[in-house]
Symmetry: C2
Subunit: 351 residues, 2 copies
DNA sequence: AGTTAGCACTCCAAACTAACGGGTGCTAAA
DNA sequence: TTTAGCACCCGTTAGTTTGGAGTGCTAACT
């Protein structure tokens, strides 16, 4: 690594650690370099001219620019990973009972805990899932619960008050009808199909409008974004927000906007997408490291870590890579075992 | 209302509005009182001696003490209620489709929105609920989802990966067994009963330990606190937190602690419980107004509004009272209609 | 030619100062 | 009992000073 890179790396490292602009002397004091502060200053100057560093005012230390972070992330960051997260993740994976969703959820909690940042799980967009079952379960003489399940094991439910307007039988026959007509339908087609079925329902059932509305509502809930956040409160620990609460508002408003989050987590085919806050943007100080998670038998999902631009990219990226890798390996292995077993079964039957 | 009370009321009102200590002159300027500032000062002094007011330093305006707020809440607050919240709540209630849970949830969102505070729904403690149904729904050749429903229409689910260790049949028979043995069991007895059943399962099923674990885990999830928060982000708008982020941390940590929340919302039989932050407490600056919600056919739940001690009690209390009243009236009415209808039916059959 | 010591210069942050003003309590008169 | 008047308190704000961490430039040194 050439001298300029070393200096850039150290500046970014130091700034990530302290959240303070870094000066030439500090750098020298902290990391015994074998060239003088003047040399460092020269290098810093060219780094600034080239757009990797910025000054907060004419005579202050330097701060990495967005471009500087990018370069750091792409070329300079160290890739080690510490033992603690390994242990923790392995502990989770060793509890064999867990479904993929649960494993991912728990892993994200660990990620959030160990980075002091917010982690998010973006489920696959629901629209492609198919409804596989629709059941009605009477729970008292006054009410019944309808349970809807998709082919990924996602469950929605809706409780009906049975009574004057709606009879148990009505709900039953409605469910029967929907079951016949809707199983196998993908979530995105659910609402249009429902519209087509509407006349049938109104022929059949007394309280049809209410039932219809209720079902429709439940289907809409299906389509809503499946997104979980962990460790929101961790943000309060970040020094950038202790002064300036408005920055905190910005990042929290982003976390409240599923669209924004979907927007900034990887769409392309990359395994890992790194979004570094750009100055021109509404979310100028927000960085997002996101990774695609592929589990056999599931649609691809994403997990991501969200934090201020000054986040410990080296750590965050290596952690998230590790976590995703381990999760994928884990479930591939399970999948393989299954297949092998199945083949054995076939062999067996053949003989 | 005597003069002292008037003055105390105005001080509390003004402080709630401005979050600034209130002085005698300001009071005079803002609300044309017909006695002099000196008189006000005298009254303030006795109010302070009696413990209703506090000074932040020797010569500053007064701030209500905890006792002052209490007195205000009990005796001085105005009880009007404005039209906007009425309209909003009525809009919600008019969507007849909604179940109680949904109505409560939406009402709380409105409450949070209109008070700029956090509102919470504390479901009834789950332990009394009874399991009414346990179903297994195959969703692919590799997985199946078990769905559990309680007598209040609460649904939990757990997805199993079918395969080497677990067969569909195993899950089926396990569910069948549990269905026979566990329907009607209350949540709190679920775990002990499971333990009793354990030997049966291990006799019956190959992957029994995994299945057993999974079921157990789901039951534990049942027992976990059912609690929703709305409008967390609203807290950032409160002026007390713009300076002092540590206060914000305190209140957020409280919101993250279901135990603390349960602790500070009404246990006794009162319809409304008002907790005002006490200085000696860890949560010194947190006030909670909570109300019991009774809906026919449901266990009692609570809704509450959480905010800094300086909250607009008059508004919050009247809103929450209104909301709870309306919700209760709404569902009682539905219930009555049902009963009437049923009686009519009986009449009918008799003739 | 690249490196570095030296130096003048910049500007923020922290510390100090002064003035202001909103607040108090007390006293004495109405 | 109320209130005008007054001395006093102290936090806030604005202005000033100072110190220090930082810069860039130049000239001397490898």
């Amino acid at each position: 690594m050439n001298r300029r890179d070393i200096i850039l790396k150290l500046i970014v490292d130091h700034f990530i650690k302290t959240a303070q602009p870094v000066g030439s002397q500090t750098l020298l004091d902290e990391y015994r370099l074998d060239y003088s502060s003047a040399t460092i200053r020269n290098e810093m100057n060219t780094l600034e001219v080239d757009g990797y560093l910025e000054k907060t005012h004419t005579s202050s230390g330097r701060v990495p620019s967005s471009k500087g972070y990018r370069y750091y992330v792409d070329n300079l960051r160290e890739k080690g990973i510490d033992e603690e997260i390994k242990n923790r993740i392995q502990t989770v994976l060793n509890q064999k009972v867990q479904s993929a969703d649960e494993v991912i959820k728990e892993s994200c909690e660990i990620l959030s805990h160990m980075t002091n940042l917010v982690s998010i799980v973006l489920g696959p967009t629901a629209s492609e899932e198919k409804l596989v079952s629709l059941q009605i379960i009477p729970i008292s003489d006054k009410s019944a619960t309808a349970v809807f399940v998709t082919d990924t094991g996602y469950v929605e439910n809706k409780t009906f008050n049975i009574g004057e307007k709606i009879k148990v039988d009505d709900v039953q026959s409605c469910v029967k009808l929907l079951n016949e007509r809707l199983t196998g339908t993908s979530i995105s087609e659910l609402v249009p199909k429902m519209q087509a079925i509407k006349p049938l329902i109104s022929d059949l059932i007394i309280g049809h409008d209410i039932l219809y509305q209720a079902m429709l509502e439940t289907f809409l809930r299906f389509a809503s974004d499946r997104l979980s956040l962990y460790g929101r409160e961790k943000l309060l620990e970040q020094p950038e927000y202790s002064k300036d609460i408005s920055k905190l508002k910005k990042i929290l408003s982003m976390l409240d906007s599923p669209e924004a989050l979907r927007n900034f987590t990887g769409h392309d085919n990359a395994e890992i997408t790194i979004r570094i806050g750009e100055d021109d943007n509404q979310y100028d100080d927000v960085s997002i490291v996101s990774a695609k998670v592929k589990v056999p038998g599931h649609k691809d999902g994403n997990i991501a870590i969200v934090g201020p631009r000054r986040m410990d990219y080296a750590k965050v990226i290596s952690y998230i890579e590790y976590v995703v890798d381990e999760i994928e390996k884990h479930f591939e292995k399970i999948d393989d075992d299954e297949n092998k077993k199945e083949e054995e079964n076939k062999e067996w039957k053949k003989n």
